[in-house]
């Protein structure tokens, strides 16, 4: 696994460059830069002028990209980010969002069942997103 040495960062973690994060998440380089500078939602570490993103941050960017595509505002996403823990997103199966409700769950149907009255939901497949990241790493190693 390619490892980028970064000060104040975990040496065993495979870090991603912003161009890779853009490719995996579908977010433009400009939006990713904005997220770091203004939004403060997902903050990469800096190596000189290069931003480097840990895997869980890449996953976070993928989730944010999906929610933005589904019409969630920056404010709503920021609230979700505040309420959820990074490790929940890193290990959960689904992220379920419905209005002010956000949850990481193995069983989205049961969660929806317990929130009687709410009709609209967005379901994000976190397992699929993690597989994409792993596939990107495998592809990058293959081409190295």
């Amino acid at each position: 696994m390619q490892t980028v040495p970064v000060a104040n960062a975990d040496r065993d973690v495979r870090y991603f460059r912003t161009s890779e994060v853009s490719l995996i998440s579908g977010m433009s380089l400009r939006v990713l830069q904005w997220m770091d500078e203004q939004g403060g939602l997902v903050k990469p570490v800096l190596q000189g002028h290069t931003r480097l993103w840990a895997p869980w941050q890449v996953l976070g960017c993928c989730v944010i990209a999906q929610l933005k595509r589904k019409g969630y505002s920056n404010q709503q996403i920021r609230r979700m980010w505040r309420d959820l823990r990074a490790e929940q997103i890193a290990h959960g199966d689904y992220l379920l969002a419905g209005g002010k409700h956000f949850a990481i769950t193995e069983d989205p149907v049961e969660f929806i069942r317990s929130h009687n009255g709410r009709s609209g939901w967005v379901l994000v497949d976190l397992v699929e997103l993690r597989r994409r990241i792993r596939r990107h790493i495998a592809g990058a190693e293959h081409h190295a």
């Binding site: 019409g71 609209g120 939901w121 967005v122 379901l123 994000v124 397992v127 997103l129």
Partner: protein
Amino acid sequence: MPALSITLNLESDPWEDLKLRSEEGRLVHLKDAPMRVGALPRGMQSGKASVAIAIELPDGRTVVAETSLELFLAAARVFQVGRDRGELL
């Protein structure tokens, strides 16, 4: 697409953005359009199965949309919840 919007009841919770598009004449609403659904065993970027839905438009073009089999099945289970509650017949 690794994310899917699911609306349990469009009567109580309509797609407002589509209402706007309808008013602007930018919506094609087909009630009896030829529609196909099929599974692709390795259709997702991860290699997992996806479901493709093809809809033929009146102008002869066809729209194909794809989502993961996991999300498609989850949506179906959510609608089953609505049916169990008696909201969907």
